[in-house]
Amino acid sequence: MTRPLDAKSHAEHMAKVLDLTILPEWQPTVVQHLATTAAAAELILSFPLDDHVEPAPVFEP
């Protein structure tokens, strides 16, 4: 991530994309949770990982 997430705008946009209803009284908390998640994501995104570090899904076809 190169700049801080505008959590409010992101929430408004994604609510439309996903057809989610967010009542005005819910919105501040939703935005706050998004900001918390963004901060957590920033910690992960700023950590250098070798290209060969892959996710480890367990999927046995």
Binding site: L20, W26, A39, A41, F47, L49
Partner: protein, 469 residues
């Protein structure tokens, strides 16, 4: 007599039933009587299966009369209400799932409990869809802490803690994604086992975050955890994430003591952001074990962040259609977290999974030099019900997500943990310590837990006010 036996640990109950000192039916009736007295104010059970319990108890008594000796003979237990119980609607703490038809069959682990002679009393209260560390439920009321009913049981397997600490059952099953067995074990003063990720079948349980969900037992003795773990292990093709591994003979291994085990206390992240009792409990355990070494869990902050991102995104995707159609029917606290989780960019989640792989390897390296790590289970004793914020190291933060700050990094790595209950001198409440072992070595954590129990450093007494009930 049957009432006294009920208050014993599960292994003692099973021994008494097998020796025909008491019948499974008598123990079951004592459990039912206790539930009728205590459940109304503690909100442990949401669903009772009393007819079934009597039927299972009679079957155990008939088996014992024939000379059989099922390992959990007559042990009264109950399950977090996300486990399928034949004939019961699996509500998973929600209002919405109550519209589903009753489960047609038992979940795999409930089937295994039945085969080994345990007696199912019902389904237990939990935080909605398991997205919770408090044990508070918007729809069913809060499962309360029997040691102090003004306080939380801890969640999300809250009823699993409440019922055990109140002596309504001798064992319970819960689930743990980020700490939901370990937190109520700490708050309610119980032994809890979160096995290695992939060890126990999750088939027939309502998921929260499939990438990190674990199931496991809770009890009032370390020996009970071993008995339960042995009953619950085994391959199940119905759980696609279960990893095929040879079972551990926990009841045998747990007797081996701790000689030769290299035990270290987690430093850094695990010595900050807690109240004094969290670290005092770890120090008491470490002192008793003679553990003088310390060890650093690498990148614990990022491990927690990674678990946080995966959990919110994956659980929100699971609930997306319900969020679209019935947002008003969720617990508001859970709904707002899920709504935000639905909006998480894919790259964040995938990067979190990649970090998880890195962290797994880093923890394998850590365990080359040591066998067991000690860390706090919760940052504090059980909080008063309704607590919204806590202040740790001078920083005020939301209480709900931070109750699990010490448990969350460990489950990301899928490591097995036994939470042991500690009573500090003069304390009115218990607090748990995580005994963390390498992947697939639940036996090591159980051995340490048993040693601590034997030395009276860890103990899970019934809530004092419940003893006379």
């Amino acid at each position: 007599v049957s009432g006294d036996v009920l208050l014993q640990p599960a292994h003692a109950i099973a021994a008494a039933v097998k020796a025909r000192r008491v019948s499974a039916r008598e123990v079951t009736q004592a459990a039912i009587a206790r539930i009728e007295v205590a459940n109304g104010r503690l909100h442990a059970f949401t669903d009772l299966t009393l007819e079934r319990a009597i039927g299972e108890a009679d079957a155990v008594d008939a088996a014992v009369a024939k000379g059989l000796a099922p390992p959990l003979a007559g042990v009264p237990y109950a399950v977090k209400n996300l486990f399928d119980i034949s004939g019961v609607v699996t509500r998973a703490g929600s209002k919405i799932n109550r519209d589903n038809p009753p489960a047609k069959t038992d979940s795999t682990l409930v089937r295994k409990m039945k085969v080994t002679g345990a007696v199912l009393l019902g389904g237990l209260n939990m935080g909605e869809y398991a997205y919770d560390f408090t044990g508070e439920n918007f729809h069913d009321g809060a499962s309360l802490n029997p040691h102090d009913p003004s306080r939380m049981s801890g969640g999300s397997s809250g009823g699993s803690g409440t019922a055990l600490a109140a002596g309504m059952v001798a064992a319970s099953l819960g689930s743990d994604t980020n700490g939901s067995i370990r937190v109520p074990s700490s708050f309610c003063g119980l032994f809890g086992l979160k096995p290695t990720f992939g060890r126990l079948s999750r088939a027939g349980t309502f998921p929260f975050c499939a990438s990190i969900d674990h199931l496991g037992p809770m009890a009032r003795s370390a020996i009970d955890l071993a008995l339960l773990f042995d009953a619950l292990q085994g391959d199940d093709p119905a759980d696609p994430m279960q990893v095929r591994r040879a079972p551990v003979a926990a009841t045998v291994e747990i007797q081996k003591g701790i000689a030769g085990l290299r035990i270290a206390v987690a430093d850094g992240y695990f010595r900050k952001n807690g109240m004094p009792e969290a670290f005092a409990a770890v120090d008491k355990v470490a002192g008793a074990l003679g553990a003088k070494r310390t060890v650093t869990v690498p990148e614990a902050v990022r491990a927690r962040a990674s678990a946080y991102v995966i959990t919110t995104a994956e659980s929100s995707a699971l609930h997306l259609s319900r969020l679209q159609t019935r947002p008003g029917d969720f617990d508001p606290d859970v709904r707002d977290r899920l709504l935000s989780g639905a909006m998480v960019p894919a790259a964040w989640v995938i990067q979190a999974h990649r970090f998880r792989s890195w962290f797994r390897q880093a923890m394998r390296e850590v365990f080359k030099d040591i066998d067991v790590i000690l860390a706090p289970a919760t940052p504090f004793h059980a909080l008063p019900s309704g607590t919204k914020v806590v202040t740790l190291d001078g920083v005020t933060m939301p209480a709900r997500p931070n109750i699990g700050l010490f448990t969350q990094p460990i489950s990301l790595a899928g490591l097995p943990v036994v939470t042991v209950p500690v009573w500090l001198d003069g304390a009115n409440l218990p607090i748990g310590v995580q005994v963390i072992a390498p992947a697939w070595r639940e036996d090591l954590a159980l051995r340490v837990a048993r040693q601590l129990e034997r030395d009276n450093v860890a103990a899970a007494p019934l809530a004092r006010q419940m003893e006379a009930a």
